[in-house]
């Protein structure tokens, strides 16, 4: 009986070892993708798409993909227990609230501020010729 249990145990370990070895290939693949992502991010920042927001959007999309690879596979989030997901959903929710609040304050005419526009016209601070002395 005891021998039988022992045999089962070692088989279990071999399985785990095989399982982990298969994971190593995935890790190396993700390593390659992260390097590629970095090169693309740097390369694309030198391309002029005509508007800054296009560069920013592309840059952030690539960064998000890289972050997903690291969190999902290196940190094993895709196969993690529900408790961890629950903790992160709470953190993610409050992070989203934080960013949303910032965006609301930047666009006062949209959801808060009820149409009260507070935009001030910008005054160039430098590159201005010195004002002539008043007489």
């Amino acid at each position: 009986m005891a021998e039988h249990a022992h045999a089962d145990h070692s088989v279990g370990h071999d399985h785990e070892a095989e399982h982990i070895k298969a994971h190593v290939k995935v890790y190396l693949l993700i390593f390659g993708m992260l390097i590629l992502g970095t090169i693309v991010t740097v390369g694309i920042s030198y391309v002029d798409f005509g508007a800054a927001w296009i560069n920013i959007t592309i840059g952030l999309i690539i960064a998000s993909i890289k972050a997903t690879l690291v969190a999902g596979w290196f940190m094993h989030l895709i196969s993690e227990k529900r408790m961890v997901h629950a903790i992160l959903i709470v953190a993610g929710f409050f992070f989203a609230v934080l960013v949303a609040l910032c965006i609301w304050t930047m666009a006062p005419e949209s959801l808060i501020g009820g149409g009260k526009k507070q935009h001030t016209t910008s005054v160039p601070v430098v590159h201005e010729p010195a004002a002539a002395p008043a007489h």
């Binding site: 982990i20 890790y27 560069n55 840059g59 408790m83 934080l98 960013v99 609040l101 160039p124």
Partner: protein, 280 residues
Amino acid sequence: MEIPYTTKPRPDTALYNAKVGIWLFLASEVMLFGALFSSYILLRVGADPKLVWPALAAWPHHSDGLLNVPMGAINTLVLIVSSVTVVMAWVSLKLKDFNKFFIFQGVTIVCAMGFCAIKSFEYAAKFSHYHVVLNDGTAMTGHLEPKQYFTTDKKLRAANVAEIEFVKDPAPGHGHAAAGSAAAAHDDHKPVKIKMADVQRLTFWGPQQSTYFAIYFTMTGLHALHVIGGALVIAYLWIPGARMWKTDPERFTNRVKVCGLFWHFVDLVWIFLFPVLYLL
């Protein structure tokens, strides 16, 4: 007294306790860096888009050459490599190969030190780089001759300096346009004499220079502290803490895993910091 659930999962969370602990900690870290990222968004959107660096209130473009993109890119690669070695160190322990763990953990520490070394070169370059506004409103950037660190107009005036020698930076190729004229760039490298009486503001590229450098140093500084903290824990598990491998291998493997989770988070923050500060 034995600490419960260091290896066995707790029935209610289905995890060993250290893992719940590290994830709660990382959730709080998300909020910490989240506060800084949202500050970044506000500062950046609040900057006047019509102004062009080196105007004081302008948000610089990466073609203005404030930050060293190759150094930042190399540091990104260094952190990616360290992320792989961290996970491979844990895999080695799972496969009961302590020698491989020792190598991978060692490589991670080398990467962490490499990251800090590159970052300190970058910081040093900023602290000897200057932003000057003259009384007529002209703004320019460059170096003092001879090289000086951490100087401001107040310090120069206090030392009764009447005139400075200033090597202007080549005209920044804003919008990738002014990359051409090599002759003009050559002229820019000759030091010019500037009377301190004409200087309205002179300061090194530190957090006090502009909102951009303020958020740059706050975010990269906090991140660098995380790198140092993570490296200390990795170094502890590398040699002194590794004695636990002989007495309680499963618990030691979990410690390496938990430490690795923190390290991946540090890598993750940099994945966003690099494009946000250096490139966009």
